[in-house]
């Protein structure tokens, strides 16, 4: 008798708890999320567009960063290119590639335009590599004037512009986000001098913070990318090694799609790719417009560019266009393979996962849209 009432009571408690949690969830999800989403990250323009768009558009969640890679997505969104393709794009911005990956893992994004960090979802078999978006110049490792690293130049054969010796690099502290191009840059740089990650220290910080800390006198070297690399130059810091010199691999930022999403919604993915490349073509054909547009959007998102730095970026970084992809020496996915190969050194990419990367290359969308044939890279091309 007593036992049954007790059981009933505990059951009741469990039910109430579960219900209360769910009531709490649904209530909040309905009320604040609507506004929340309208305002997610980018700008009020989107909200207006979202409201204008009615139910017949297909919703697609896109993640990117307020950097070069994000500009075409934002541009296509504002120009209505996505809408023309029947897409209702929800553009979500992330400060670096790592949290963007996390959002992919959490199933919060369908497609993304991301940088080097894309290698992880590719290696894990979560995403496919559906397009390359822009070349990545302007990245590098910077040191202060008077740094011992600057005492020696051109020690490594074939790298006349690269500074440093094994002795001067050993024991230095590098600032920059780990798990992104900055770390890749640093590791490849020190490898030229026969050093490993045990010989140096790398402090993980997002680009903005790392730059600020470096200006404040922290660390010995800064591994960064535009616009902070341009700021670094303006502040009188000296580039010890460019990304290209250090890594010897062309790096492309690019587009990825969740495999499950791509399988279920090939039309949406294709539409996204099409609108994105349309924006790329626009931006490449009108550098003046690209400059104005980029500066405006970056500033809105807290990345201060001036005209000069923006011009440098335009100089350094091209958006991928049809003509580029058609050229002889274009090798799709080569950068990703190099990075995947590199990251096996500290287990961030497990060796067993290496084949996943070339397997994830899916050029069918581009080939369909543009009616071209693309040359796909393999690990053999790395040698």
């Amino acid at each position: 008798m007593k036992k049954t009432t007790m059981k009933l009571f505990s059951l009741l408690i469990v039910v109430i708890m579960v219900c209360s949690v769910f009531i709490g969830c649904t209530a909040k999800e309905e009320a604040p999320k609507d506004d929340g989403e309208a305002g997610t990250s980018d700008s009020v323009d989107n909200a207006v567009q979202d409201k204008a768009s009615s139910g017949d558009l297909t919703k697609i969640r896109v993640g990117t960063q307020p950097t070069t890679i994000g500009v075409p997505a934002q541009y296509a969104l504002e120009k209505g290119y996505f809408k023309e393709e029947g897409l209702d794009v929800d553009l979500v911005l992330f400060p670096t590639g790592a949290p963007l990956n996390e959002a992919i893992a959490a199933g919060e994004l369908d497609v993304a335009a991301n940088g080097l960090a894309s290698v992880f979802p590719l290696a894990n078999g979560v995403c496919e590599w559906i397009g390359e978006a822009n070349t990545t110049g302007g990245m590098g490792i910077y040191v202060r004037e008077g740094s011992p690293i600057l005492e020696n130049k051109g020690e490594i054969e074939g790298k006349p512009d690269m500074y440093g010796t094994a002795e001067s690099i050993k024991g230095t502290t590098f600032l920059g986000p780990i798990g992104t191009s900055a770390q890749f840059n640093v590791m490849r740089y020190i490898q030229h001098f026969g050093l490993s990650d045990a010989d140096i220290e790398q402090i993980h910080m997002d680009h903005g913070q790392a730059y600020q800390a470096y200006v404040a006198g922290e660390g010995d070297a800064l591994a960064t990318s535009p616009p902070f690399s341009y700021d670094a130059e303006d502040s009188g810091f000296i580039m010890a090694a460019s990304f290209e010199d250090a890594t010897e691999s062309p790096l492309f930022d690019g587009l990825l799609a969740r495999k499950d999403y791509s399988a279920d919604n090939p039309e949406s993915v294709k539409a996204f790719v099409k609108a994105y490349y349309r924006a790329c073509e626009d931006l490449m054909s009108d550098p003046e417009m690209r400059k104005e547009y980029s500066i405006d959007w970056f500033t809105k998102n807290g990345r201060e560019y001036n005209e000069e730095t923006m011009l440098k970026e335009i100089e350094d970084r091209d958006y991928v266009t049809q003509s580029m992809m058609e050229s002889e020496d274009y090798s799709y996915g080569l950068g990703m393979l190099a990075i995947a190969d590199f990251y096996t050194f500290d287990g961030k990419v497990e060796e067993a996962d290496l084949p996943n990367v070339p397997e994830s290359f899916n050029v069918s969308y581009i080939e369909d849209i543009m009616d071209i044939k693309i040359n796909i890279a393999t690990y053999d091309d790395l040698k």
Binding site: E102, A106, G179, I203, G347
Partner: protein
């Protein structure tokens, strides 16, 4: 601690039965975890790795440094070092300040308002400020830990000293004791239980704060390990990190509990 008081001799007989219930409950929980992850695969291991995977990762993390560059013990050592540094300094400054604030009302009038405003600010909010002021090395993290420890310790010491009964002060004064003598022999003993609680709360705060600081800027530490595993599709390492945080937190709390029992001898600690 509380159960010990409530459980009388009659209940003791049943206690072993309760342990069995606890065990069964845990086994069921782990089984369900396994069933929906590794068993049936209902939940992807990218979202929630199964218990076997987590346990494997946990043990292999003692000697494998992938994917974040250090083994579990190296991370743990780094985190503990900073935590203890900030903790010791926080305690060393917080206790005297709390005592002085509570014992000298005039000082209190001036110190309290500033303190009341700083108090509700969580340690994690100070991180950006500390990075700017003290850079990104050990010092800034130590400072963030220090701040959160300091606040908790000062408040608890303060409250403890204020609990001194007037009658005890009178007893001391009428025997001719000086104000300082009364402070050390009456007020501080009175405050001890609160002070011990403060030490415990502050240790929890320190441990939480170091994790937060490491999530934001660091080269090593449990928080860094978790941070690195985000976006690398390694939730097993994240869970390993959480387990390590939980166990370490519990062990630290337990050690302080031992100290507390010794210090408070015949007295019950005031929660």
């Amino acid at each position: 601690m509380n159960e010990d008081i409530s459980i009388d001799s009659v209940q003791k007989r049943e206690k072993s039965g309760y342990i069995i219930i606890s065990l069964i409950s845990l086994v069921i929980g782990i089984f369900l975890w396994w069933l929906f992850t590794e068993g049936l695969g209902t939940i992807s291991h990218k979202i929630m790795p199964g218990p076997i995977r987590v346990f494997q990762s946990f043990f292999s993390k003692f000697y494998v440094s992938a994917p974040d560059g250090a083994t579990l013990l190296q991370h743990l050592g780094s985190s503990l070092q900073i935590t203890l540094l900030g903790y010791v300094i926080g305690v060393a400054i917080g206790i005297p300040l709390g005592i002085v604030m509570a014992w000298y009302p005039k000082f209190d009038l001036f110190a309290r308002p500033v303190f009341d405003l700083l108090r509700p600010i969580p340690g994690i909010a100070w991180i950006p400020v500390m990075i700017v002021l003290f850079g990104i090395g050990l010092l800034s993290k130590g400072m963030v830990v220090f701040l959160s420890v300091f606040v908790a310790i000062t408040i608890n010491t303060y409250t403890g000293i204020q609990q001194t009964k007037s009658v005890h002060k009178w007893v001391s004064h009428t025997f001719g004791a000086s104000n300082i003598y009364t402070l050390f022999h009456v007020a501080i003993p009175t405050a001890l239980p609160m002070l011990m609680t403060g030490l415990r709360v502050a240790l929890g705060a320190a441990w939480t704060t170091i994790i937060a600081a490491e999530l934001l800027a660091s080269t090593k530490g449990i928080g860094f390990m978790i941070q690195q595993s985000r976006g690398l599709f390694r939730p097993d390492i994240i869970i390993v990190g959480m387990i390590a945080i939980g166990i370490t937190g519990s062990v630290l709390g337990w050690l302080l509990g031992l100290l507390e029992k010794r210090v408070l001898k015949g007295r019950l600690s005031k929660e």
